[in-house]
C-alpha cells in the first residue's frame, strides 16, 4: 500500500526539482503543480502493479506536460513591445513551456515506454484542439461546450487510464476535473465579468447577438442559470464517479469529499448571494 501524504509530497518535490531552471525562475513564476491532478494520478497508479520507480517516472512526466500546458496559458495577447521587462517575461514563458515539454518527453524516453509517449502526446493534441474550439467560440451546443472543457482538463489522466484499461478512472478524472474547471470559470466570471464558459453559453443561447452588445437582464439570467445547471450536472457526475471508484486510501477518499463539499458550498453561497 502506498502512503499518499508522503508520496505526494515526494512527487511534488521531484517535479519541482526536475522543472527547476535557475534563469527561468529568476524572471517567470515557479511552475504550478496542480495537486488535484497529482492526487488523481496517484489514485490511478495506486491500483496498478507497476514498480515504484517506473510509476514515479510516469507521474512526473504527466505533471511536466501539465505544467508545460499551464505555462503556455500564461502567454497573453497584450502588446508588450514598449516594456522590456514584460517582453522578456513573455519570451521566457514561451520557452519555459517548450522546455517542460521537452523534459516530459525526455523522462518517458529514458523509461523507454513508447506506448506511453503515444498516449500522452495524443492527449496533448486533443487538449490543444479543444482549447482552440473553446477560445474561438466555435461550439454550438452545451454538451459540446462541456465536452471541450472536459477534454482540456482531463485528457492527460484519461489517456493514461485508458492505456491501463481503467474506465472508472477515465470517468472519475473527467467528472472531477470538469467540476473544478466550471467552478473556476464561475469564480472568474464573478471577479472579472469574463469567462470562457459564460461567453460560450451566451453565444450558444444568443448566437445572433454580437459579443459587444449588452444582454438584457432576462437574457443574462438565462446565461447564468445555464451555467449553474452545468455545475449541478457536474456535481451529480462526480457523486456517481465517487461511488464507482474503489479508493483504497482513506486520505484520497477524504480529499475527494472535501473537493466536492467545497464546490457545493461555493455553489450554495453563490445562490444565497443571488
Amino acid at each position: 500500500m502506498l502512503n499518499i501524504i508522503n508520496d505526494v509530497k515526494e512527487l511534488r518535490q521531484l517535479i519541482k526539482t526536475k522543472a527547476h531552471h535557475s534563469y527561468l525562475q529568476k524572471y517567470i513564476e515557479e511552475p504550478f503543480v496542480d495537486e488535484d491532478k497529482l492526487l488523481l494520478l496517484w489514485g490511478l497508479f495506486n491500483e496498478l502493479e507497476i514498480p515504484d520507480n517506473e510509476r514515479n517516472h510516469y507521474m512526473l512526466s504527466t505533471m511536466l506536460v501539465q505544467i508545460a500546458l499551464d505555462t503556455h496559458e500564461k502567454v497573453s495577447n497584450t502588446n508588450v513591445m514598449g516594456s522590456p521587462g514584460l517582453l522578456k517575461n513573455r519570451q521566457l514563458t514561451v520557452l519555459a513551456g517548450d522546455y517542460y515539454s521537452g523534459l516530459y518527453y525526455q523522462v518517458l524516453a529514458e523509461v523507454g515506454n513508447i506506448n506511453m509517449i503515444r498516449a500522452l502526446s495524443s492527449a496533448v493534441k486533443k487538449i490543444n484542439d479543444h482549447k482552440i474550439l473553446l477560445y474561438q467560440y466555435t461550439l454550438n451546443n452545451i454538451p459540446d461546450l462541456l465536452n471541450s472543457f472536459r477534454a482540456v482538463e482531463a485528457s492527460l489522466i484519461y489517456k493514461i487510464a485508458e492505456y491501463y484499461q481503467k474506465p472508472v478512472w477515465m470517468d472519475g478524472a473527467e467528472n472531477l476535473l470538469l467540476l473544478k474547471r466550471l467552478h473556476r470559470e464561475k469564480e472568474q466570471y464573478r471577479e472579472t465579468g469574463q469567462s470562457l464558459l459564460v461567453e460560450g453559453i451566451r453565444l450558444i443561447l444568443f448566437p445572433h447577438i454580437a459579443m459587444e452588445v449588452e444582454l438584457s437582464k432576462e437574457q443574462l439570467l438565462q446565461v447564468e442559470n445555464t451555467m449553474d445547471s452545468c455545475i449541478e450536472y457536474a456535481i451529480q457526475s462526480v457523486k456517481q464517479s465517487k461511488g464507482e471508484l474503489s479508493l483504497a486510501n482513506v486520505e484520497l477518499h477524504q480529499r475527494m469529499d472535501d473537493m466536492l463539499s467545497f464546490t457545493e458550498l461555493k455553489v450554495n453561497s453563490y445562490v444565497k448571494e443571488g
Partner: protein
C-alpha cells in the same frame, strides 16, 4: 530551389513525407488545421527530412518507416518556428503573415503545442527507445539554446565558447539528430550513425555561422529584414565577437541598443565589415564544412553520400 535538383531522386519519397505532414495536422478545429497548414505550406526547404532520408540510405532503407522520422523532424522544426514568432513578436515569416500575426499569440501557442504533440505521436511509430532518447535530448537542448540566447542578449563580455554552445544547441543538434535518426531508423551500423551525427553537427555549425555572417553581408531584400538585425536585437554572433577583439571597435559595438538610429547602426555594421571579422568568420564556417566533408569520406560511397556532400557545398556557397 537549388537543393531540389541535388536530391531529385528523393522526390517521390519526399512527397510521401509531405502527405504525412498534411495528414498529421488535421484537427477538429478548422482554425488549428488552417493555422498549421498555413506554415507547413509556406515554402520551407524541408532540409531536415532530406537529411533523414539521405542518412537512412546507409541502412536497410524502408520509406514507410523512415517517413515517420522525417515528418517528425519537420513538425518539431515547424512547431518551434510558430513559438519563435511569438518570442520575436514577428509578423512575417518566409514573406507570409505569421500565425501570431494572422490570428494571435494564443492561437500560435496552441498551434505550436498541437504540432509538437503530433510530432511525438508520429515518432511513436518508431519502436526504438534510443531514437526517442536522442530526439528528446535534442529538444531539451534546443530549448536551452533559445533560453541562453535571451540570457546572453547584449552581453558583450560573453566568450566564444558560449556562442558555439548556443549555436550547437539552437541549430546544429537538430540537423545532427536528423542524420543520426535517419540512420538509426534503418538499422545502419553504429559507426555510421555516429559519423552521420558528426556530419550533421558540423554542417549545422557551418550553416548557423554563415547565417550570422549573412546578417551583415546580405541585403535587406535578401534577408527580409534590415541588415544587422541580430546585433540590433542584442544577439552577439561570431562576426561581432571577432570584431570585438579590437578594443576600440568593442567600445563602439557596446553602444548598440534596440532603439539605435539606422544611420548609427549602419556605421557600426560597416566598421564590423571593414575589420576583417566577416572573412575570419567565413574561414571558421569553412573549417566546419571541411570537417563535415572528412566525415563523409569515411562513409560508404553511394548516391546519398554524394548528395550530402553537394548539400554541404551549397551551404558553404549560399549568399542568403
Amino acid at each position: 530551389m537549388k537543393y531540389k535538383l541535388k536530391y531529385s531522386f528523393l522526390n517521390s519519397d519526399l512527397q510521401l513525407v509531405e502527405k504525412e505532414l498534411e495528414a498529421a495536422i488535421h484537427a477538429d478545429s478548422s482554425v488549428l488545421t488552417e493555422a498549421s497548414l498555413h506554415l507547413l505550406q509556406s515554402g520551407g526547404k524541408r532540409i531536415r527530412p532530406v537529411f533523414v532520408l539521405l542518412a537512412a540510405r546507409f541502412g536497410d532503407y524502408d520509406i514507410h518507416v523512415v517517413k515517420h522520422v522525417a515528418a517528425t523532424l519537420e513538425l518539431i522544426h515547424t512547431a518551434s518556428l510558430v513559438h519563435d514568432d511569438v518570442v520575436d513578436d514577428a509578423d512575417l515569416r518566409r514573406g507570409s503573415a505569421t500565425i501570431k500575426s494572422k490570428w494571435d499569440n494564443r492561437v500560435a501557442m496552441y498551434t505550436g503545442d498541437y504540432i509538437f504533440a503530433r510530432a511525438l505521436e508520429m515518432m511513436s511509430e518508431i519502436n526504438n527507445p534510443r531514437a526517442h532518447q536522442i530526439l528528446a535530448n535534442t529538444m531539451v537542448e534546443l530549448c536551452l539554446g533559445e533560453i541562453e540566447q535571451i540570457k546572453d542578449k547584449f552581453n558583450f563580455e560573453q566568450n566564444w565558447r558560449i556562442y558555439f554552445r548556443r549555436i550547437k544547441r539552437k541549430t546544429a543538434l537538430l540537423i545532427a539528430s536528423s542524420c543520426q535518426l535517419g540512420a538509426i531508423a534503418t538499422g545502419a551500423d553504429e559507426r555510421i550513425q555516429r559519423r552521420l551525427f558528426r556530419f550533421g553537427y558540423y554542417v549545422g555549425m557551418s550553416y548557423q555561422i554563415m547565417d550570422d555572417i549573412l546578417d551583415f553581408t546580405a541585403s535587406e531584400a535578401e534577408l527580409g529584414k534590415p541588415a544587422g538585425s541580430d546585433l540590433l536585437q542584442g544577439n552577439i554572433t561570431l562576426p561581432v565577437l571577432i570584431a570585438m577583439k579590437n578594443p576600440a571597435l568593442k567600445e563602439i559595438i557596446k553602444t548598440v541598443h534596440e532603439e539605435m538610429l539606422k544611420e548609427d547602426m549602419g556605421a557600426i555594421i560597416q566598421a564590423i565589415k571593414a575589420s576583417g571579422a566577416i572573412e575570419q568568420a567565413t574561414r571558421i564556417s569553412d573549417q566546419y564544412l571541411e570537417k563535415a566533408f572528412r566525415e563523409l569520406e569515411e562513409l560508404p560511397s553511394n548516391k546519398a553520400r554524394k548528395t550530402l556532400s553537394q548539400i554541404a557545398q551549397n551551404i558553404g556557397k549560399r549568399k542568403f
